[in-house]
Amino acid sequence: MDAYTGRVLHVDLGRRKSQVEVLEPAFLQKYLGGVGLATRLLIDNGEPGCDPLGEENAVAIAVGALAGTMVPCGGKHAMAAKSPLTGFIGDSLSGSYWSNALRRAGYDAMVIKGKAANPTYVFVDNEYTLFRDAEALWGQESFATEEAIRAEIGDSRVRVSCIGVAGEKLVPYACVSNDRGRQAGRTGMGAVWGSKNLKAIAVRGTQPVSVAELEELNKLSLDLGERAQGLATAKYRVTGTVGNVLTLNRLGLLPTRNFQNSVLESAEQVSGEYLQSHFKEKAVACSGCPIACEQVVRVREGSYEGARVSVDYETLYALGPCCGIDSLPGIIKAAELCDRYGLDTISTGVTIAWAMECYEKGILTESDTDGLELNFGNHEASVALIERIALREGIGDLLAQGTKRASEKVGQGSEKFAMQSKGLELPGYEPRGLKTYALGLAVGTRGACHNRSLAYEPDMKGQVDRLKAEKGRGQIAAESEDLAATLDSMMFCKFIRGCFEDYHEEATEFYRLATGLDLSAEGLKEAGERICNLKKHFNVREGWEKKDDWLPARILEEPLPDGSGQGTTLVAEELRLMIDDYYEARGWTEDGLIPAEQLAKLGLEDLS
């Protein structure tokens, strides 16, 4: 077996011990790597029913089979743990050089358990694993932490994954950052690290990565790299994902003012085009990526002068239109603060938007908000809130809990406009106008997520009527989840998916040439289904109930007030119909549970 190392590094922070587990090729082939492997390792190593912020929760981190090879866009890592935000599976990806370093240090994955007595960082130095004091780093921002650790080790090749202050303060939507600006953003992995007194994992990997058929893999990689300069990635390369803003606005799909509107009147001011012409500094790429979607922007004048950050569409939506904010300098400053403190920008923005609506409705007053005037559009208030959330000070302590818990605490009907599912805040596409996508959000194992379900694609390509809820969407949603699971486990960036003529055939060829292991296209598809079932199994183990697959009351009770889809509804009966259809397509029971025979069919009989 090549590419894979067949080794998992187990780290016990409490005992300051590490050991290596050897994985068999058949096991790796079954779960592929990335999300698939991390989820399986979490199931095997995390304590069922554990407190997400307790010592018994495990953090599993896995790279893909192609990490460290020449294959374009194959270098990411996945992180899985029980989420402190949702109580279900937390899984999050980050594009990085960190993944290459872990592979080159000799590992396919890491599992971290226990809790360090004091702030600690783990240094994986090829075959050695060292536990180092992080007292001096505790309280430092993520960017500074990366630099400080590299300086301490004295080697610029060291790659660092770390948490900011929000993770230390156990904000349940704190992220884990690496490579100065890449994040495993969603579901609060940073808080899990913080609960373990784990500030960072630094990796120095200098060993070569072998591949089974070097010449052929090189040839195929160069070909894919060339294709990645074509039309399928033009959007990402030319405008970045922020190019979504005007299109979604025109289609009436841009969630605005906490989903009260789907059109922002001043969208031009926060458009990707405006960002490019007024703030763009450069585009940057993740490891091995020929696309370079990430837009680094800088504020050049005014009260936020000097703010500098990478902005993608979801960040811009959440901290901008969702909060009614049309000031790009204000959005850039807010995004920079989220990155420095280590906060998921989507959950942060949507939680602030909820607070703004509470304020405008009189549910929260200035006596609750530390005197801040939380009107929609107030970017100064948004910037002030982010610091309070990260430090859990004043109103920030309430908002640090996310929209689900904060609204349960505040009540007064605010639960109806808490824009979350399973506790995870909604991404930036209006579900009332994208019915298949709405189903994907409702049944998503990690909560409302556009990345684990790609169900917006058939809606947005016109393959189905995006405004109609009907039977048949269940199969489409299931297939889109399976596809996403294979991408997230092969660890191909989703932005290169359009460059494949036949993704399953070509991906398995990359896999074969790299690892020397045979995997058929059908086998890859089945692995996707297996991984989705694995994640669902984790949720059931942790107390999932049918009612958890649902959408916020606002989506189901209020028609779209404006835009080209004005008047469009998604009523509860329609969502129920699609969810039942999805369970049937999955081969699950009417209650959404996985029958034993379904687990056995997927080779998961040991989980029955």
């Binding site: 399928a232 190019g243 299109t247």
Partner: protein
Amino acid sequence: MRVTVEFFGVARHWAGVEECQLEFEEGAELHDVVMELGRSFPRLVEEKLIENQRELAASFALSINGRMVTQNLDVRLADNDRLLLISAVWGG
């Protein structure tokens, strides 16, 4: 009859304008619009957004009046339609 085409994202970048107006005979289809766009904005052909004179590349789509989105161009136009030339590639 007259239709308006609005450009978004890379299509706007390459067309160099935000929108244009086009005239057609009764019975024209989206294919005819794409052909006319290729003539009026050669960069769209150079960049292969328009293929075989009358087809859109798979990574693009047209929306009719902001509601229906389609990659099927066998659709007849109506007077005063507003067509949006958009990317069919999403994610963020």
